[in-house]
Symmetry: C2
Subunit: 348 residues, 2 copies
């Protein structure tokens, strides 16, 4: 910066003011400084400036993994939005206990990032306390907590709508497949399961916990086992609600392999709005992952600007049911609408 000052024939103070866009610089001076900076390909040292301002211009993002569709989409929304706000994005993917200890031990200091975005990550009480200790402004993404800034969807309501949709198709035996999270790192609210149960209760369908099965998160045989259990019940389900599209995809594969036609014999409904849901013709509850990321960036900006009032900023984004070919009427269901049509046809 001293070089730029010399070349432009001004003081470092003036260079600093010019480069930060302060208005208290005369146009001629500004022009000279900008020219000098360009000629020297000068780029400011964030380290030095953050040392004095106390702001780093950086936001840390904590995620439980990086190779899931949801996180990719959320980051794809988050990154440009942060950059547009002049913030850099530091990504920490914490998947092992060791990394976890490291992260909370070393990284979160207020001085190394202006805010921490916690994305679908289940903080322990101790971790929470440590972050608060450090005065780290927090934004929760795809999860929420009282008195904390957060952006998420209404899982209960969405799951309720999804379940109602299946009920409306005449299904009464509706199974629910939830992912087991072996690491326990991912945040889970059980909200989707709650929504599922509420919708069944509303419709007067008896709760049957045999229909709720937990399956290993990614690949592995436990899905086959779950399907086996469901198909061998005295009264097997005619529809399955999968807590994530990833599970739904695997389920579709298993069903195809064991010659259970979808949706003729089994309807399948997913949750996420995964990019592959359309090619798979999977009915799903689409959540706006990208927009969650964008909203998170906006919250981050606000929380950094005044960390006082950030407590109660909650942004809830909508989930849309996208009906596709993987769901259909329950086999043998007495669907009055369809019946009516048939009658009409027969009369015609």
């Amino acid at each position: 910066m001293a070089d730029v000052a010399e070349r432009a024939g001004v003081s470092p103070s003036t260079v600093s003011r010019t480069l930060r866009g302060l208005s208290t610089v005369s146009p001629q001076t500004r022009a000279r400084v900008e020219k000098a900076a360009r000629e020297l390909s000068f780029a400011i040292s964030r380290s030095a400036s953050s040392l004095v301002t106390g702001r780093t211009g950086r936001v840390a993002v904590l995620v439980p993994n990086l190779d899931s569709w949801f996180l990719g989409a959320a980051l794809a929304g988050l990154a440009p939005a942060l950059n547009a706000a002049g913030l850099d994005m530091l990504v920490y993917s914490v998947t092992t206990a060791e990394q976890r200890a490291e992260f909370f031990d070393r990284l979160p200091a207020r001085r190394n990032a202006d805010a921490l975005l916690v994305v679908s990550f289940a903080l322990s009480p101790r971790e929470r306390a440590r972050l608060d200790d450090l005065g780290m402004p927090l934004v929760f993404v795809s999860q929420h907590e009282q008195g904390r800034a957060g952006v998420y969807v209404d899982d209960v309501e969405a799951a309720r709508r999804g379940t109602r949709y299946l009920l409306n198709l005449g299904h009464r035996r509706i199974a629910y497949l939830e992912p087991a999270d072996p690491s326990g790192f991912a945040w889970s609210s059980r909200a989707r399961l709650d929504g599922y149960r509420e919708a069944l209760a509303e419709a007067g369908v008896d709760r049957d916990d045999e229909l709720v099965r937990r399956v290993a998160d990614w690949q592995g045989p436990s899905l086959d086992a779950a399907v086996g259990r469901l198909l061998s019940l005295a009264e097997p389900p005619t529809a399955v609600f999968a807590e994530t599209d990833d599970i739904a995809f695997r389920l579709l594969t298993v069903l195809r392999g064991v010659n259970v036609p979808v949706p003729a014999r089994m309807s399948v409904l997913g949750f996420d709005g995964h990019a592959m849901a359309e090619p798979w013709d999977l009915s799903t509850l689409a959540q706006p992952a990208r927009r969650l990321g964008e909203a998170a960036a906006e919250l981050a900006r606000q929380v950094i600007q005044d960390s006082a009032t950030h407590g109660e900023r909650h942004v809830v984004l909508p989930v849309e049911l996208v009906p596709r070919g993987s769901t259909g009427p329950a086999p043998g269901a007495r669907d009055d609408g369809e019946k009516g049509e048939e009658d009409a046809r027969n009369r015609g």
Copy 2:
């Protein structure tokens, strides 16, 4: 740091030495300092230390998007490996011309990151020049360039092997589907197409550019059009080699929709080793995306350590053909091996 020094009854110099793990600190002093630091939840300010050392402890990663399977997997390998080396990961997703100008204008200064990883991103000559000007150490990931550190796979060889596999199944009319990159941001070497052509030439199959079609990168109707073209040729293909698994997935969907059985009437081979390839039963050339990321982290470390000798570090990782159900013998092909078996069976 001054607080810690006071609490431990030592000088800041000693605190600094302790925290950096220098051996020139007596065990008792070290213990006292560490205790004090813990009690104050002290975390060092990277800004201050990088101001004096000239190192930021950060690596910038430039990607053309964030929501593709490949980048997710690569980042999933990269992030923990960088963290393990004590480096933070700054992610820049540059997808529009505006972001692109911003990035090269503002961010890459040597002082704000110790190295830049360029992942599948096509730099313009001017951008290259600017980065060199700034003395930014570069590592190319999933792309390569003479005299530059890089980690990638041998696309030519892999595509050659994939094509040979189809040839060995008796296919002679093999189409090739390549993605169109509307933004032009993604790096492309044409290497896979070259490998495909080489294998055909080796086998004495005439080159037919009617069989090579470019399709829009993501969704959209252009794939249907391409399939229409192929199926309406005088001599339609019996196999399709898709440059990416994403294209292959969409192709499988289209083929199913138009009642072309796979692989009976059409074999489909992908490229990537996408996580969904197994559930889709898609034959593919699997590249080790995660390991590419890990290797990139290692290269970054080396390049930072001595930027002098980083020129010629090239790491080439292997691609494996994973045959699955989407590929089979060409219809009507005279496969001597199978013929032999049939004869044997008939004799038995």
